[in-house]
Symmetry: C2
Subunit: 216 residues, 2 copies
Amino acid sequence: MKLYDYYRSSAAFRVRIALNIKGLEVEQESIHLRHKAQRSDAYLAVNPQGLVPTLVDDDGTVVTQSMAIIEYLEETRPDTPSLMPGDAVGRGRVRAIAAAIACDIHPLNNLRVLRHIDQVFDTNEATRNELWYKHWIAEGMGGLEGMLAGGLETGEFCHGDTPTMADCCLIPQIYNADRFGCDLSGYPTAMRINATCLELDAFQRALPEVQPDAEA
Amino acid sequence: MKLYDYYRSSAAFRVRIALNIKGLEVEQESIHLRHKAQRSDAYLAVNPQGLVPTLVDDDGTVVTQSMAIIEYLEETRPDTPSLMPGDAVGRGRVRAIAAAIACDIHPLNNLRVLRHIDQVFDTNEATRNELWYKHWIAEGMGGLEGMLAGGLETGEFCHGDTPTMADCCLIPQIYNADRFGCDLSGYPTAMRINATCLELDAFQRALPEVQPDAEA
């Protein structure tokens, strides 16, 4: 399998965690987002959205979008450790937690969005980080903490005592928020789960700074 | 079943379409987003994110997030018309199209985001619609059109010749973009599918303007 990847992409980070937990090897090809490599004709032919990650399976099947990729790996590699609960209610909860991050937090704060804000509104990086980045982290992480702290199924991980797709989404989001200097002390359940995950080799090996395309 | 709903919510619109295609009846309770009813203690106890939609199943199971709800309905109502392809590759494609809308277009342009822009940046509604709303529609719909126009599995609908979760996401997004006056002529495949869907009763009955809480 091949993964079109970028070390700092939060969505690619999710997929790297999932691959590591499942023990699946991939060839990584870096798509340099800050150099706009995602807009090359060659990459757009693979992924018309011009976003990372993209997975290309051994038979040539192309799957885009991090959550779709994780669900695809789950369905096509049933003999690997599962990232989804065995019951429909549990799967609903894991998908909801994942979406609370992947639909409601991450899209507002990714690189292309921050760049666009700086281009079209009269602001600067410091102000934009205060009024925009930190606002959506507070808004999103507050709701997420409510889902986690109030959920009877929350265990050592977001759902139960093994990692799921929800944890694959949570850890890259917290990593990103921390990098932007957000105060995360108000989300103790999320931070406890984050610490638990980061003790695991599968999460450590997915970290941006240890990827082959990582920059200083 | 009960659906916490709001007529203008694009995410709730997706779930209404899915429920109609599956022939499932729900009690609708309106959460007035512009009056901030989603922030009431009573609603936050149901959905800690303070977002719509939320589904409460007959046994009390609570499922949040539109895509998680649709997948939950799919798994728990196997005797109803399916919104997912029968093969893993097809499901991967449908989930990716749905996510291209639900993660990459919609989150940037929903009500809470537009409100926040107006509060924190020096802009006005007309400028914000030009430089922000229309920008993300063009960016997102361009990529989506590429996925649809270039996909061998695209049929009468986004995937094949019956509606899927992808169509449940597409039609509310186009409805919204049209309401904001976006030029959609550059997305002929998406617009052809939109027209096909809107001929169906299940889509018509899910339209915002025919909901019990619709306002003039």
